[in-house]
């Protein structure tokens, strides 16, 4: 057995899952955080090795032997996404402040990592459906643990589960329509988006961030909807509903007075922009959407971690007046601006070329859709600058204790900055890999149509 032939992908799922059980029994928050970091880091390493070696033949893991077929597999689409999801979990654990450790469930964080990495490692529709349904559980338990009402979340996830299972059972156009509905609910498309704002408002920020930022809805669309070669109007429906959501959520982000709701709408707008690329299912638009997906996950993830770090210092953040946090935390101000601008595709960041590609792809088929994407991006940019100016300018906020970034937070932000600027200054490898994934997805869809 060679190094590459080890079942790294299965280990990337199993290691955090195994870690969740002993961490759940640790009572000391600091010790739990350390163990969580160790297991999340080990899972991240396994997923990175799996990503690097995925093109080489490997031996069947225990799950493959159990089911008689490979359960987890990486291809051009999922290869960079699996380590990205693991990295987001690792960085969230890393950037958790000591003051918040007692309120964070590290066991659920590890369980969530296992489920989400498993989701992105699945290819078969039934396996994916199981993981998608399992992925809805950690936020629910987080809401219950905090004593908050979970009704809005349960209603939406119930609808999602019904549509998903119905879509898997049905055939033909009905299946496509049901799966489209499932994708739209999971993606937080208007009007089925209330669960996202509810989760961010009532859940813990870290748990909500991890549940939302990987944009699982897009993965479901790529794996469940696109391969069955749905009628054009289904994909157009996803695209148009997503475009409407992107503009609508960007507009609402502009007028929010609570930072968490602002972030929730900002995320919804970005996630919907990613789904817009599905509408035209051309190689360029889909490449743009896939490239934007990774870029948004990294930049919005970093933006969320920065907001979370601010909340850890100053409590729930209101956007009704100038708060003057710059003097207290200049490094956080820079991170806020960098990650925020990266999410709207500012030059030099990973989102720039991705946004250009997406707009270029959609304008070719429909200038109106291209205009909608540009309007949403412009509104998001205004919302981010407004939030920055409200939070970091104004009369100097001078707390009695140090509120600068900790070493762990700096490490987390540095890792994200490397990805944001690395992908922005040297975009070709990443864009080429997304192009291969788009071509593969479109070829599979064409083959299904022919069949």
């Amino acid at each position: 057995m060679t190094f590459a032939s080890l079942p790294w992908l299965e280990l990337a799922v199993v290691v955090p899952l195994c870690g969740a059980l002993p961490v759940a029994r640790v009572r000391d928050p600091l010790a739990a955080a350390r163990w969580c970091l160790a297991f999340a880091g080990a899972g991240l390493v396994c997923s990175l090795v799996a990503c690097v070696t995925h093109s080489e033949p490997g031996s069947a893991g225990a799950l493959a032997r159990l089911f008689g077929r490979p359960v987890f597999a990486l291809d051009a689409l999922s290869a960079p996404l699996v380590p990205l999801v693991a990295l987001l979990h690792f960085l969230t654990a890393l950037a958790t402040g000591r003051t918040k450790m007692a309120r964070v469930s590290f066991a659920w964080l590890l369980a969530g990592q296992a489920v989400r990495v498993g989701t992105f490692a699945c290819v078969a529709p039934t396996d994916l459906a199981v993981f998608l349904l399992l992925g809805a559980l950690p936020p629910y338990f987080d809401l219950r643990r905090r004593g908050r009402a979970a009704r809005v979340y349960v209603l939406h996830m119930g609808l999602f589960a019904a549509l998903l299972l119905g879509g898997l059972v049905a055939t033909g156009t009905v299946a496509a329509v049901l799966l489209m509905g499932a994708v739209l609910v999971r993606g937080g498309t208007v009007p089925a988006h209330a669960w996202v704002t509810d989760l961010f408002e009532n859940g813990s920020f870290g748990a909500a961030l991890l549940a939302a930022t990987p944009i699982v809805g897009m993965y479901a669309a790529m794996r469940l909807v696109l391969p069955i070669a749905p009628p054009n109007w289904v994909l157009e429906g996803i695209g148009l509903a997503s475009l409407a959501t992107a503009v609508y959520a960007a507009g609402l982000a502009l007028v929010q007075t609570d930072a968490r709701r602002f972030f929730a709408y900002l995320f919804l707008s970005h996630a919907s922009l990613v789904l817009v690329g599905m509408e035209l299912h051309t190689a360029i638009s889909l490449t743009g959407a896939l490239a934007l997906w990774g870029s948004v996950a990294v930049s919005i993830g970093g933006f969320g971690l920065t907001l979370r770090a601010l909340e850890a210092r100053f409590g729930r953040l209101s956007l009704t007046e100038h708060r003057g946090f710059y003097a207290a935390s200049p490094a956080l101000a820079v991170c806020f601006l960098l990650t925020g601008l990266a999410s709207v595709g500012f030059p030099g960041t990973s989102g720039f070329v991705a946004t250009e590609l997406l707009v270029d792809g959609v304008v070719g088929a429909s200038p109106a859709v291209g205009l909608g994407v540009i309007v949403a991006t412009a509104l998001n940019g205004i919302a981010i600058m407004r939030a920055y100016l409200l939070l970091f300018t104004g009369a100097r906020h001078a707390p009695g204790v140090g509120t600068g970034m900790t070493v762990r937070e700096r490490g987390a932000v540095f890792a994200l900055a490397v990805l944001i600027f690395g992908g922005g200054l040297f975009p070709q490898p990443y864009i080429a890999s997304r192009h291969r994934a788009a071509e593969a997805a479109l070829t599979a869809g064409d083959a299904e149509t022919t069949r």
């Binding site: 007028v255 360029i284 500012f346 070329v353 590609l357 291209g370 540009i374 412009a378 600058m385």
Partner: protein, 477 residues
Amino acid sequence: MTDLAALAVACGPVAVVAPLALVFVLGVPALVGAPLPERATDRACRALIAIGLLATLAVFVLMLATGDRHVVVNLGNWVSIHHPTDENAHYHFAVKFEYDRLSLPLAVLSFTLCGTIGAFAARYLHREPGYTRFFVLFAVFLTGMVTAALADTIETLFAGWELVGLSSVLLVAYFQERPAPARNGLHVWVVYRVSDAALLFAAVALHHTTGEGDFDRLLGTAPWPHGRAAIPEGQALVIGLLLLLAAAGKSALVPFSGWLPRAMEGPTPSSAVFYGALSVHLGVFLLLRMSPLIAASGWLAVAVVALGLATAVYAYLAGAVQTDIKSALSFASLAQVGIIVAEIGAGHWLPILWYVALTHLLGHACLRVLQFVRAPSLLRDYRELENAIGEQLPRPIGPLATAPGGVRGRLYRFALERGHLDALLVCCVVRPCVGLFLWLDRLERRWAAFLRGSAPVDGSSTAPRTDPTAHVAERRT
């Protein structure tokens, strides 16, 4: 290619890399919490700006020596994707820069003025808490200016355009302990985003029309201003109008002129180089670069002339009643920008006017920088002069005072209210949009409360009860 031409191509990238290196030299230590000391910052600024300027001048000398008036520096494709069989399914983002009669003067002007103002600011901002922040943003601005000036593709120009916008806004909000600069910064940002959106849409439309974003495909390979647009008149008009909208936002043309006096909240060095000299002329530069489109469409030329003249008249009237020196200078600057824009539009009938406009731009930028940096000490100079001659200096009668009685009052009111332009934009665009989104937000909350089975939370502390962007209607304090 001769040795001299090859040398020119080799020197070309240095002009872009030098300011970019300055961003990293100043920005990275600041990001890790160990900013460079003032002296090292000043030296890095001087050295890298001098390197960039020398490289640009070297290309200029080599162009004179070789007789080549159009040097293209192609750094290759930044991104390139191809479909194995479908010719239409390809995309590439080329990083190309060009040195010609238009880009070279603007690049030299950018380096010269930024070098001068950098040296001025090193003393002006000595021991200011935001010293490093100013110079990092200053370096970002210079990078954006040089990138936009030398760009040979519309995408590269857009990248530089955005960098200029961001640095400008953050410097407007430089004195961040007061809310007014932050509000004005947001106002400028909103106008810039509209401008950016128009430019991005135009860029993508051009990309699709010509298959590439390269200027030589769109405007022909002949050196500026002899290019010919490779698209029909109708398309030239539509794309030209989008570019005119982008230029109007960036250069504060009517109806976006309200942001220019607000931008004077920033420190004097940035006001001088941004809004007196370079940033405010970037929209003008865009119109000059796209002059073949103006040549292709008479209606576009008429629109450009009309907008330029309207801006010039507006700025002349508003500037006549300003009571602080920086606002007066900003409107004086805007009046000249309007005239330059009108000259560019008139170039459709008389192409020599494009050279006139370029010369006007360069001269105006230099004069205005001098006036801005002298502004803080002007009152003292006046006082010394009056002390020396023993009486008040003669005050010339303002232009509005000579207007006939009935018109005079209206003109004064129009000028004092700065043409009601901000109020017009707020009433017609901002308030309806914000009102709509606030109404939708209230519906959202009711819907969520219904799903939750609880009472609506309209009265909660986090629900927006007032217009959170109402400050855009406020006048600069």
